[in-house]
C-alpha cells in the first residue's frame, strides 16, 4: 500500500516536472531552449551510467559508442524507410540494447581495469566503423531530420523548442523508468552484486545474468540519448561521438553522485553551463585566448577533484546523508529526553 502510494507520488512529480518545463520553454530565448535540450540528452546519458556503474558496479568508458549505435540506427531508419520519429527512437533503444547485451555478455567475465579497457577500446573503435559502410555516410555522416514541429503548435514555435520538448519528454520518461527499476528487485540485485558478489550469489541472485541485464538496459538508455543528441545537431557522424563524449558523461555522473539518481540534473547542467560560464569569466577578466580555450576543461577538472575529495557520492547524496544523520541524532536526543 505504502509502495503504491510512493509510486504514484513519483509519477505525479514527474508529470509536474513536465508541466514546469513546458512553461519554462516558453519563457526563455532560443539559445537557452537549445541548451535545455542538450541538458535533457545528458540527463538520459548520465542516468544510464548511474544505473550501470553506480548500481551494478560495472565501469564503462565506452558509452559514447553505445550512443553512436542508437544514433546511427535511428538515422538509417529515418533515411532508408522514413519511419515515424517515435519508432526511430524505439529502434535506437533496441539496437543499442542488443549491442549492450553482447558487450555485457563479455563484460560479465571482466571487471575493474579489464572492463574499463574493453569499453575504452569500443569508444575509440566503433564510431569510425561508419567509414567502412556506405550506408552509414562515412566521415561526413548522415542527416537526421526529425521534421518540423506540427503546425498546430503555431508558426512561432521554433525547431529548437520542438527538440527541447521531445528531449525533455524522453528524459522525464527515462528517469521515471530508471527510478522505478532501481527501486525494484532488479535494482536491489544489482546493488547486492556490487556490494559483495559472493554474498549476492549465496542469496540466490544470478549475478552474471544480473550484470548482463544491467548492461543491456543501460545501453538501451544510452542509445536513446545518442539518437536525441543526433536530433539536436541534425546529423550523425563518427566525430560526433568522440572519446571525450564518453568521458564527459562519466564526469557528469561523478559530479551528480554516481550512486544516486537525484543529482542527475545537476551533473547535466554543469556539463552544459560550465563552458559558457568559463567564457563569460574569461571575457570579464580580459584573459588571453589560450586561457579562454582551456578554462572550461580546468573548471570541470577542478570540480571533479573537489567532488571526489569532499563529496565522493555527489553533493545530493551527501546532503541526504547529512540530513538523515541529523534527524537520526535528533530522534536519539528526543528519545533520551523522554
Amino acid at each position: 500500500m505504502h509502495k503504491a502510494k510512493q509510486e504514484s507520488t513519483h509519477l505525479t512529480m514527474f508529470i509536474l516536472g513536465g508541466v514546469v518545463l513546458y512553461f519554462l520553454s516558453g519563457m526563455v530565448d532560443e539559445l537557452r531552449v537549445y541548451q535545455g535540450a542538450t541538458i535533457a540528452v545528458y540527463v538520459i546519458a548520465i542516468s544510464s551510467i548511474i544505473l550501470l556503474t553506480g548500481y551494478s558496479g560495472q565501469v564503462s568508458l565506452g558509452h559514447g559508442a553505445l550512443m553512436a549505435v542508437g544514433a546511427y540506427a535511428a538515422a538509417v531508419l529515418r533515411i532508408e524507410f522514413n519511419l515515424p520519429i517515435i519508432l526511430c527512437f524505439v529502434v535506437a533503444v533496441l539496437a543499442a540494447a542488443i549491442g549492450g547485451a553482447l558487450l555485457g555478455a563479455a563484460a560479465a567475465r571482466l571487471s575493474g581495469p579489464y572492463l574499463a579497457g574493453t569499453t575504452l577500446a569500443l569508444a575509440i573503435g566503433l564510431p569510425s566503423l561508419a567509414n567502412q559502410f556506405e550506408v552509414l555516410g562515412g566521415e561526413q555522416g548522415l542527416l537526421f531530420d526529425v521534421g518540423f514541429p506540427p503546425l498546430a503548435l503555431g508558426e512561432e514555435f521554433t525547431q529548437y523548442k520542438w527538440f527541447f520538448w521531445i528531449a525533455a519528454l524522453a528524459a522525464l520518461i527515462s528517469m521515471w523508468v530508471v527510478r522505478n527499476l532501481l527501486n525494484s528487485a532488479y535494482g536491489r540485485a544489482w546493488k547486492a552484486g556490487r556490494g559483495n558478489e559472493v554474498a549476492a550469489q549465496l542469496t540466490g541472485i544470478n549475478t552474471a545474468r544480473s550484470k548482463v541485464l544491467a548492461f543491456t538496459i543501460s545501453a538501451g538508455i544510452a542509445g536513446l540519448a545518442g539518437a536525441l543528441l543526433a536530433m539536436t545537431i541534425g546529423t550523425v557522424s563518427p566525430s560526433a561521438f568522440p572519446l571525450s563524449l564518453s568521458f564527459a558523461v562519466l564526469t557528469g555522473a561523478v559530479l551528480a553522485g554516481i550512486t544516486t539518481l537525484g543529482g542527475v540534473i545537476l551533473g547535466a547542467v554543469v556539463l552544459v553551463i560550465i563552458p559558457e560560464l568559463a567564457d563569460v569569466i574569461a571575457h570579464r577578466l580580459g584573459a588571453a585566448e589560450s586561457v579562454t580555450i582551456n578554462l572550461p576543461g580546468l573548471i570541470v577538472s577542478g570540480l571533479l577533484i573537489l567532488t571526489v575529495l569532499f563529496v565522493p557520492n555527489g553533493p545530493v547524496e551527501q546532503h541526504r546523508a547529512r540530513k538523515a544523520k541529523h534527524s537520526a541524532l535528533l530522534g536519539g536526543t528526543h528519545k533520551k529526553m523522554q
Binding site: 510512493q6 507520488t9 512529480m13 516536472g17 514546469v20 519554462l24 519563457m27 526563455v28 530565448d29 532560443e30 539559445l31 537557452r32 537549445y34 541548451q35 535545455g36 542538450t38 541538458i39 569510425s128 567509414n131 567502412q132 562515412g138 566521415e139 561526413q140 555522416g141 542527416l143 537526421f144 531530420d145 525547431q159 543528441l229 539536436t232 545537431i233 541534425g234 546529423t235 557522424s237 563518427p238 566525430s239 560526433a240 568522440p242 571525450s244 563524449l245 537525484g262 543529482g263 540534473i265 545537476l266 547542467v269 552544459v272 553551463i273 559558457e276 567564457d279 585566448e289 580555450i293 582551456n294 545530493v316 541526504r320 540530513k323 534527524s327
Partner: protein
C-alpha cells in the same frame, strides 16, 4: 520524509536549471544583427585544441591580424570588424552549440571560415543558417557539395574541391608521366572517394591503390604501404591523405631509402606541418605539390609580402605558412565582400554582393573563383610546383603554371587567368 526530501531535491534542481537558463539578458536589436554604427561582428568556430587543431589553430590569429590592420586603417566605412572565435574541438556537437552561441547570444552578422565537412553539415542541418539568413562565408573544406546553392543558399565554398584536385593531378600525370606506373595512397572515406571520382574523370590508371582508415596512419602502417608500392614497382606515388599520413609515409621512406617520384595532395602537403613532425626537408626535395595560392616563401609576390609583413608584426615568432596565408586571404576577401555590401551592410546585401561581384574580388589566389547567383563554388584550380631542397613548394622553373576545372565532367585546362593587382595598401576599394 523520504518523499519530502526528494521533492526538495527536484525543486532545487529545477531552480538551478531556471537560474542557468535565464541568466543572460537579450541585447537590443540594431538595424541589422551584428552591425552597429561602430562595428561589424563576425564569428568563427574551428578546432583550437585537440589533435585536429595542429596548424588550423593559426587561422584565427591570421584572420585577426588582417582585420586589425584593416581597422587601424579606417575599417569598413568607419566600422571596425570584430572576429569572435570559439573552439569546437573538431566535434560536430560542439560546432553546433558554439555556432548557436555566436548567432543567438553574440549576435554576429555572419559566420566566417568554419572548418571540417561534418561540422559544417551539422551546423547547416541543426542551426540552419540558411533559414535564419545568416551568411556562412568561405568554409574551410574541400567538399564539393557546399557550392550547391539550392541545398546551402547562404554558404560559400573557397577551397578548390578534392575532385578538382584529383582531376588536375590526373591531367599532370598524363602530360608528364605517360607510361609510368602510378601508385595512390588515399584515405578510405569520403575524402578518398572524392579523390577516386576525380582520378576516374581524368582517366588515370593505377598500378596499385592503397587505402588507409582515418586514424590508422602511423610508422608501422607506412612500412606496410611501402611494401605494396615496391611490389607493384610504382614509379610515381601520390599521397592523397592528411598531413599525418604524408608525414608517416615520408618519414619511413627516408629510413628505408625508398624514393619514388612523390606527388603530394594539398591537404597533406603543407611543408611546415610535415617538417614539424621531424621529416627531413631533403625527402620532400623534387616532390610535386599543388596549391591555389602563391608559395608562402615567394616574397616577390605582392600579397605574400604584404600578408607576411602584417603577420610578423601581429604574431611575432610564428612561422608564415599555408594556413596563415589562407586565413589572411579569407579575411581579405571578407573585407571586400563587406565593402561591396553597401554603406549600411545587411546579411541580405552581403549575400547579394558575393553573388554579383564575388568572382572579381581581389585576392592572392592564382586561379579564379566561381561565385555567381547559381553557384557558390570557390577557387577553381591549382598551380603545380616542386618542393625545393629546403622542403618549400615553389613553381617549376620560377613560373606558376595553373590549371582550372570543375567538380563535374568538365575538362582540365591550363588557365589564362591573370590575377588583378592588389588594391592600394591592401584595403578594399
Amino acid at each position: 520524509m523520504k518523499a519530502l526530501n526528494r521533492r526538495k531535491l527536484i525543486t532545487a534542481s529545477a531552480v538551478l536549471a531556471i537560474v542557468g537558463l535565464a541568466s543572460t539578458a537579450i541585447p537590443a536589436q540594431a538595424a541589422e544583427v551584428g552591425v552597429s554604427s561602430t562595428q561589424i561582428k563576425l564569428g568563427m568556430t574551428l578546432p583550437m585544441t585537440g589533435t585536429a587543431s595542429l596548424g588550423y589553430n593559426k587561422i584565427p590569429g591570421a584572420a585577426k591580424a588582417y582585420f586589425d590592420y584593416l581597422n587601424a586603417n579606417g575599417g569598413i566605412n568607419g566600422r571596425k570588424v570584430t572576429l569572435i572565435v570559439k573552439d569546437d574541438r573538431y566535434v560536430p556537437t560542439e560546432a553546433v552549440s558554439k555556432t548557436n552561441e555566436l548567432i543567438l547570444k553574440d549576435k554576429v552578422m555572419a559566420l566566417l571560415a568554419p572548418l571540417g565537412t561534418a561540422n559544417v553539415k551539422a551546423v547547416a542541418s541543426s542551426v540552419n543558417p540558411a533559414r535564419r539568413g545568416v551568411p556562412v562565408l568561405f568554409v574551410n573544406t574541400g567538399f564539393s557539395g557546399f557550392a550547391d546553392v539550392k541545398k546551402y543558399p547562404t554558404t560559400y565554398a573557397v577551397l578548390p574541391s578534392y575532385i578538382m584536385e584529383a582531376k588536375i593531378m590526373g591531367e599532370y600525370i598524363k602530360e608528364n608521366f605517360a607510361g609510368k606506373k602510378i601508385g595512390l595512397l588515399y584515405q578510405d572515406d569520403d575524402f578518398g572517394t572524392d579523390a577516386l571520382a576525380g582520378f576516374k574523370a581524368a582517366g588515370t590508371k593505377f598500378a596499385v591503390t592503397v587505402p588507409y582508415a582515418s586514424g590508422s596512419q602511423n610508422a608501422a602502417a607506412a612500412a606496410g604501404w611501402i611494401t605494396k608500392f615496391k611490389a607493384a614497382e610504382a614509379d610515381v606515388v601520390i599521397l592523397f591523405g592528411v598531413s599525418s599520413a604524408t608525414s608517416a609515409m615520408l618519414g619511413v621512406a627516408a629510413q628505408l631509402k625508398y624514393a619514388p617520384q612523390w606527388m603530394l595532395g594539398s591537404v597533406g602537403g603543407d611543408a611546415t606541418t610535415i617538417k614539424l613532425t621531424g621529416v627531413p626537408a631533403g625527402v620532400l626535395y623534387n616532390a610535386i605539390g599543388f596549391s591555389p595560392v602563391p608559395a608562402t616563401t615567394d616574397m616577390k609576390d605582392e600579397y605574400v609580402k604584404f600578408f607576411s609583413d602584417i603577420y610578423a608584426k601581429a604574431v611575432p615568432g610564428s612561422p608564415f605558412d599555408l594556413n596563415v596565408l589562407l586565413g589572411m586571404n579569407t579575411a581579405f576577401m571578407t573585407a571586400q565582400a563587406l565593402k561591396a555590401a553597401g554603406i549600411n551592410p545587411t546579411r541580405k546585401s552581403l549575400l547579394e554582393a558575393i553573388d554579383s561581384k564575388g568572382a572579381t574580388f581581389a585576392n592572392s589566389a592564382l586561379v579564379p573563383a566561381g561565385y555567381s547567383k547559381t553557384s557558390h563554388v570557390g577557387l577553381t584550380g591549382y598551380w603545380v610546383g616542386k618542393y625545393s631542397p629546403t622542403g618549400d613548394l615553389a613553381p617549376i622553373g620560377g613560373t606558376y603554371v595553373t590549371y582550372t576545372t570543375d567538380s563535374g565532367s568538365g575538362p582540365v585546362v591550363k588557365s589564362t587567368y591573370k590575377r588583378p593587382a592588389m588594391p592600394a595598401k591592401g584595403l578594399p576599394n
